[in-house]
């Protein structure tokens, strides 16, 4: 069976600070893990278009297209692409994997992202401190889960670990994993995978190429 490549849509360009963290990274990482070919398409960040809005009602990225099916929301895209691969266990562990994928978004990223938005977008230190405190409590609970085990479900790396580890990257970079050595080790274990390293390099290269194209266009 030959399948058309997945079309993964991200922004044409972003400023330096989110590079490496635009959420197409999650999809690139999974596609590398399952060795599935894909092609990048882009939508403009600065002059958002009606075509973009028609496919992504909140005007964000990533989106994918697989034949006739267009999907947005990184968590849903991960579930879709993981189905039927080694990243999604069977039996009851399938539901436990989905549970942990949603917990990564809803019980961990909710607080860590609110902390980040408060700190770096609203530059509201009080708000950042309030959400940061809850985030650290959640991260400590998560470390307890990971004591004495390498991965969240089924004794192996699943799509839930992929999403959780990506979510831990910014907290790790800003000190929220200090004092949580087992969680830090989990983060490092996941991110040392060659598929993540490839995905990260590819996202960085994508936005660097956009810089070069822009420089040339204005020369």
């Amino acid at each position: 069976m030959t399948r058309d490549p997945i079309i993964l849509t991200t922004y044409d360009w972003v400023p330096d600070f989110p590079r490496g963290h635009v959420r197409d990274i999650r999809i690139r990482w999974l596609l590398e893990e399952i060795d599935r070919p894909y092609r990048i398409e882009t939508v403009p960040l600065q002059k958002k278009t009606p075509e973009h809005l028609a496919r992504q009602p909140f005007h964000q990225v990533p989106m994918i297209r697989d034949g006739e099916l267009s999907l947005f929301e990184s968590g849903a895209i991960l579930l879709y692409l993981a189905e039927g691969t080694d990243l999604m266990p069977g039996g009851d562990d399938r539901m436990r994997t989905i549970q942990w994928l949603i917990a990564a978004l809803n019980s961990v990223e909710f607080y860590s992202a609110a902390w980040l938005v408060g700190k770096f977008f609203h530059k509201n230190e009080q708000s950042a401190a309030e959400f940061g405190k809850i985030a650290q409590d959640k991260l400590a609970h998560l470390q307890d889960v990971l004591k004495g085990r390498d991965w969240l479900v089924a004794g192996r790396f699943t799509v839930a670990d992929l999403l959780m580890a990506d979510i831990l990257r910014l907290p790790a970079q800003h000190g929220l994993l200090d004092g949580l050595p087992d969680l830090r080790a989990y983060h490092d274990r996941a991110l040392s995978r060659p598929a993540f390293q490839k995905a990260l390099a590819d996202q960085i290269a994508h936005f660097r190429a956009a810089d070069a194209a822009m420089a040339q266009a204005s020369a």
Copy 2:
């Protein structure tokens, strides 16, 4: 085929203000929609136990038990219980339903809950205003999606609508849907369903019975 009832675990008691909004409401609503019998068990809110933590690593509710399988995280429980029922369409609409369920958590509730936490828990008006502004932008985008259609996917009420409508309740009660009549109509359409009304009455009755038991114990 006879199946054992689902065991749905919630708190033994909560103060007045979250009553009607404890997240077991989502699971009760779905179980009423699919006419599946269930039994309530409780964990203590005020003296949280190691047994609770062993099943729910972030010390929250709801959890369910179905035979051998124990699950937490309301979004995951909804996906599990909806599978194979009218609330989960087939074909490509299955993935679109999962997409919207995750969007409800991640692109709508993320901002509305950050606004709520800022306003009512941290009593930080600036933080609430900042997150409230983003929440209103997301809600306006959501209204655009719902213009000229009753439900999010497949032309019928699905588990994605159930979760989205529950997420809209607190924003609606606090004025964030003012000026968004189509979204308000969607909210009203979903919440007028008898299954929601029954679930709400049952949650309120559960916590009232706890008040009565407490009063008797101290009489």
